[in-house]
C-alpha cells in the first residue's frame, strides 16, 4: 500500500489559500473516491473537496479555522488498490503501516459528551442563588475566558493534545493555575450553550443572573471572510456616498406591463433586473466606474465586460453572486440569472464560478432599505449602487403636489479613482434609464 498526500488544489482563479471549515473525515476512515473529505472556505465560497482516490485516511493536517495555502498537504492517504481492501497484507511493510494509524477514535469522544452535567458547578437548575454562588458560577461556567492563562508546560502540552483552549478553562490550581485535572474536566464538559435567551430571561434577570455574563462564539468561516473584506475595503478605498431620488413611475408601469409575459416565460419579474440592466448600460457610458486599480503595477484596469454582482443576505452571511455579461443580456435573462443565483445562495450551494469576477455591485436594500445608506464598496471594485424601497410620496409636478413613485439610490464611490462629478454623472445616467426605461430597449448589445 502506498502513501499518498492530497494537497489543497488550486480551486479557482486567484485563490491562494482557504480556511478549513469542517473535516468530514478522520484518520482511520476508509474513504471512497469522490467522497467529501473537507470543507474549505476561500475568498469566494465554501467548497467541499472530495477524495480523488480511494484509501484510508492516515492523517488530516490543519484544524478547523486554520488557513491553508494552495498546494499544502491536507490529507495523507494509504491508497487501497483492488484486491487489497480486506484483511491485513502479509508484508512487514504493510503491517507496519497499519500500526501507524490508531483505530478510529470516535468512541471516547462520544461518551465524553454524556456524563457531564453534575460535574460543572454553577450550571444546575436549583435556585439557591445567593451572591457568593454567583461568583463561582461565572468563574466556572462555559463563558470563562482569560487571555493569559497560567499553566505549567506539561499542562499546556496536555491541553494541546486534547485540543483544549486553555484560555477557556476555569483554573482551580494554586496561584490561579490551570491544572491537568481542570483541562481534563473541561474537555469532558459540553460545548458552551448557545442559548442566549435562557440566562437572562424573565424573572431571572430581576434576581442575580446565574449564567455567564458574556458568551464567546468562534469568529470563523464566512463571517471572518466578510469581516476581512469589509475592513480591507474601508481601509483602502476612499469612500464617498452620493444619494439621489429617482421617479419610478414609468418603471413601475413598465414592470406591470411585462409581468404577464414574463410569467408566461416562467420568470417572476422584480425591479432588480431593470436596475441591473440600467447599471450595465450606464457603466458602458462611464467606463471609469467599471475599473479596478492594480496597485502592484500602478495601472487602472478598464474592464470591457460588465459582470454585475448582486449582494444577497443569506443565513451564512452576505454573499455576492454575479450576473455575467449583464450588458449583453435581456432583462428577462437577467431576471432568470438572479432567480437561479438567489435560490442557490439560500440553499448554500452557489458555485464558486458564480461568485467570481464581478466588476460592479448592486445591493438591493429591500423592504427595510431605509431612507439612505452608505454602502461599502465590494473591493477592489470602485463603486457600488444601493437601491432603496420604492415609495409613494408627495412630489411637485408642474406646480402641483401629486403622488409620485419615488425611489432613492445610494451610490458609494472610491474617491481615489472616481471624482465627484464623474460619480454624479454616472448616478444620473442610471436614473435617466430608470425614469425612461424604454431606453433599455436600445441596450441589448
Amino acid at each position: 500500500m502506498a502513501r499518498w498526500e492530497f494537497k489543497l488544489p488550486d480551486i479557482g482563479e486567484g485563490v491562494t489559500e482557504g480556511e478549513i471549515v469542517a473535516w468530514l473525515v478522520q484518520p482511520g476512515d476508509v474513504v471512497k473516491e469522490d467522497q467529501p473529505t473537507i470543507e474549505v472556505m476561500t475568498d469566494k465560497a465554501t467548497v467541499t473537496i472530495t477524495a480523488p482516490k480511494a484509501g484510508t485516511v492516515v492523517e488530516t493536517r490543519g484544524k478547523v479555522g486554520e488557513i491553508v495555502a494552495v498546494h499544502s498537504v491536507l490529507l495523507v492517504f494509504e491508497l487501497s488498490s483492488p484486491g487489497e481492501a480486506v484483511g491485513p497484507a502479509p508484508s512487514a511493510d504493510a503491517s507496519h503501516a497499519r500500526n501507524g494509524h490508531a483505530p478510529k477514535d470516535d468512541g471516547p469522544a462520544a461518551t465524553a459528551v454524556g456524563d457531564i452535567k453534575e460535574t460543572l458547578p454553577g450550571m444546575g437548575g436549583a435556585d439557591a442563588g445567593v451572591g457568593l454562588d454567583v461568583a463561582v458560577a461565572v468563574g466556572a461556567g462555559a463563558g470563562y475566558f482569560n487571555e493569559k492563562p497560567l499553566a505549567t508546560p506539561a499542562t499546556r502540552k496536555l491541553a494541546r493534545e486534547m485540543s483544549v483552549d486553555l484560555r477557556r478553562v476555569s483554573p482551580s490550581g494554586p496561584q490561579g493555575r490551570v491544572t491537568k485535572t481542570d483541562v481534563e474536566g473541561f474537555s469532558r464538559a459540553p460545548a458552551a450553550p448557545s442559548s442566549r435567551g435562557t440566562a437572562f430571561a424573565g424573572t431571572a434577570l430581576a434576581r442575580t443572573p446565574r449564567g455567564p455574563l458574556e458568551e464567546r462564539v468562534p469568529f470563523t468561516g464566512m463571517r471572518r471572510k466578510i469581516s476581512q473584506k469589509m475592513a480591507q475595503s474601508t481601509r483602502t478605498a476612499a469612500h464617498f456616498t452620493f444619494v439621489e431620488e429617482c421617479d419610478a413611475t414609468a418603471l413601475k408601469a413598465l414592470r406591470a406591463r411585462l409581468q404577464a409575459p414574463a410569467e408566461a416565460a416562467g420568470v417572476r419579474l422584480s425591479f432588480l433586473p431593470f436596475i441591473v440592466k440600467a447599471t450595465a448600460a450606464a457603466l458602458k457610458k462611464h467606463p471609469m466606474l467599471n475599473t479596478t486599480l492594480d496597485e502592484s503595477t500602478n495601472e487602472l484596469v478598464f474592464r470591457k465586460y460588465f459582470h454585475i454582482g448582486i449582494a444577497m443576505a443569506t443565513e451564512a452571511g452576505l454573499m455576492v453572486p454575479v450576473v455575467k455579461d449583464a450588458d449583453r443580456k435581456t432583462v428577462l435573462d437577467i431576471a432568470r440569472d438572479i432567480e437561479r443565483l438567489s435560490a442557490d445562495a439560500k440553499a448554500g450551494k452557489v458555485k464558486l464560478d458564480d461568485l467570481q469576477g464581478s466588476t460592479f455591485t448592486v445591493t438591493s436594500l429591500g423592504a427595510r432599505g431605509g431612507l439612505l445608506a452608505t454602502p461599502i464598496i465590494n473591493f477592489p471594485e470602485v463603486a457600488i449602487l444601493g437601491v432603496h424601497r420604492m415609495k409613494q410620496k408627495p412630489v411637485v409636478k408642474d406646480g402641483q403636489i401629486v403622488i409620485g413613485e419615488v425611489m432613492l439610490l445610494s451610490l458609494s464611490f472610491d474617491h481615489r479613482i472616481v471624482d465627484g462629478s464623474i460619480g454624479a454623472s454616472f448616478a444620473y445616467e442610471i436614473i435617466r434609464y430608470l425614469e425612461t426605461p424604454d431606453l433599455l430597449w436600445m441596450e441589448m448589445a
Partner: protein
C-alpha cells in the same frame, strides 16, 4: 572484589594502568615519596621509581605545562594538582594548550593527559581548599570533565579517562575520599565516559547530582520519601559530555527536576543542565526546574555547613517542587 574507599580505588586504578601501560607517568606536588597529601599516590614511587612518579616544584603552571610536553612526546601523564583551588596558575596551559592541541594539530599531537585534582568543601579547608570549579572547565571546549561519587566508579572512570583520546579533568570529591566505601573489582574494567547512572528510581522528582553532593541528595530523598515523595536520583559521573539522554528520560518521567551542586549557583553547571532540560523536555515540566547550590560568595570557612547544599537545604526544595 575488595572493599575500598575512594583513595584506595584511585590508587588501584593508577597502579593498574602504570603496570599495563609504560607510557603512564604521575607527577605533582609530593606525589612521590609522601604519596600525595591525600595519599592517593601512596606506594607508586616505591613500585615505579623516579622516572614514572615525579615530585615537582610548587608550580601548577609548570606541572601542567611539563605534562603537556611529555604528552606531545608520547607519554601518557596523569598529573595531580593538589587542590582544585590551586589550578588557576595552570589555567592558561589548560585552556590555551591542553584543550586545543588535539584540534589545532588535526589529531596528530593530541597532548593526551588526565589531570587529577581534589574538589569540594566540607573538610574544614576554608576558601582555598574547598572550591568546585567544574563549570570553568566544562565551558572550555575540548576537555572532558569527570567526577566520581564512589570507589567502583572512581577506578572505572579513571581507567576510561586515561584511555580516552581527549584530555580529561578528573575531579575527586575530597569530602568522600574516605567516607565513600564499596566493592571494587580487582582486574581491568572501565566505567564509560558520558554515561550517567540512575542510582535510585522514582516517580515524582528527578534529583541531578554528582560527587559528594550525591549523598546529600540521597539523604534528602530518604526524608522526602517519609512525606510520600518518590525521588529519582541521577549521578551524572561524567559532567561533560553530559549524558543528557538519561537526564531527559528521567525528567520526562517525573516532570520535575532539581540540580544539586556545591559551586556557586550563578553560571554553575546547574544552569546549563536546566537550560538543556528546558530545550529538550519543556512540555513535560510540571514545576519550575530548581537548583540547590552553593551561594554566590567565596567559599566560607566558619559557615561551611550553611554554604554547602546539604540535605536539610535540598529537602524543602523537593517538597516545594513536588507540590508546586
Amino acid at each position: 572484589m575488595t572493599q575500598m574507599n575512594m583513595v584506595q580505588a584511585i590508587n588501584a586504578a593508577l597502579r593498574h594502568e602504570m603496570r599495563r601501560d609504560a607510557r603512564v607517568v604521575v607527577l605533582g606536588e609530593d606525589v612521590g615519596k609522601v604519596g600525595g597529601v591525600f595519599r592517593v599516590t601512596q606506594g607508586l614511587w616505591d613500585e615505579f621509581g623516579d622516572d614514572r612518579v615525579v615530585d615537582t616544584p610548587l608550580s601548577e603552571g609548570g606541572i601542567v605545562g611539563t605534562a603537556i610536553g611529555m604528552a606531545l612526546y608520547g607519554l601518557l601523564p596523569v598529573p595531580e594538582i593538589q587542590f582544585a583551588d590551586f589550578i588557576y596558575p595552570a589555567y592558561d596551559q589548560i585552556v590555551s594548550e591542553l584543550a586545543k592541541l588535539r584540534w589545532r594539530s588535526g589529531g596528530e599531537y593530541p597532548a593526551k593527559l588526565v589531570l587529577r585534582t581534589p574538589v569540594g568543601g566540607g573538610i574544614r579547608g576554608g576558601l582555598y581548599h574547598s572550591q568546585s570549579p567544574e563549570s570553568l572547565f566544562i565551558h572550555v571546549a575540548g576537555l572532558k570533565v569527570v567526577c566520581a561519587s564512589n570507589p567502583h566508579d572512581a577506578k572505572g572512570l579513571l581507567l576510561a579517562s586515561i584511555r580516552d583520546p581527549d584530555p580529561v579533568l578528573f575531579f575527586e570529591p575530597k569530602r568522600i575520599y574516605r567516607a565513600a566505601k564499596g566493592e571494587v573489582p580487582e582486574g581491568d574494567y572501565t566505567v564509560p565516559l558520558g554515561r550517567a547512572a540512575v542510582v535510585r528510581t522514582g516517580e515524582d522528582v528527578t534529583l541531578l547530582a554528582w560527587g559528594a553532593m550525591l549523598y546529600e541528595a540521597i539523604a534528602a530523598a530518604d526524608e522526602a520519601k517519609k512525606q510520600g515523595i518518590d525521588c529519582e536520583i541521577v549521578d551524572l559521573r561524567t559532567l561533560w559530555p553530559v549524558d543528557i539522554d538519561t537526564v531527559v528520560a528521567s525528567v520526562v518521567k517525573t516532570g520535575r527536576v532539581i540540580v544539586v551542586h556545591e559551586a556557586p549557583k550563578t553560571c554553575g553547571f546547574g544552569a546549563e543542565l536546566i537550560a538543556l532540560v528546558n530545550e529538550k523536555a519543556f512540555l513535560y515540566l510540571e514545576a519550575p526546574p530548581a537548583r540547590v547550590c552553593g551561594y554566590d560568595t567565596p567559599f566560607p570557612y566558619t559557615l561551611e555547613m550553611d554554604y554547602l547544599p546539604l540535605a536539610h537545604r535540598i529537602l524543602p526544595v523537593i517538597v516545594a517542587t513536588a507540590r508546586y
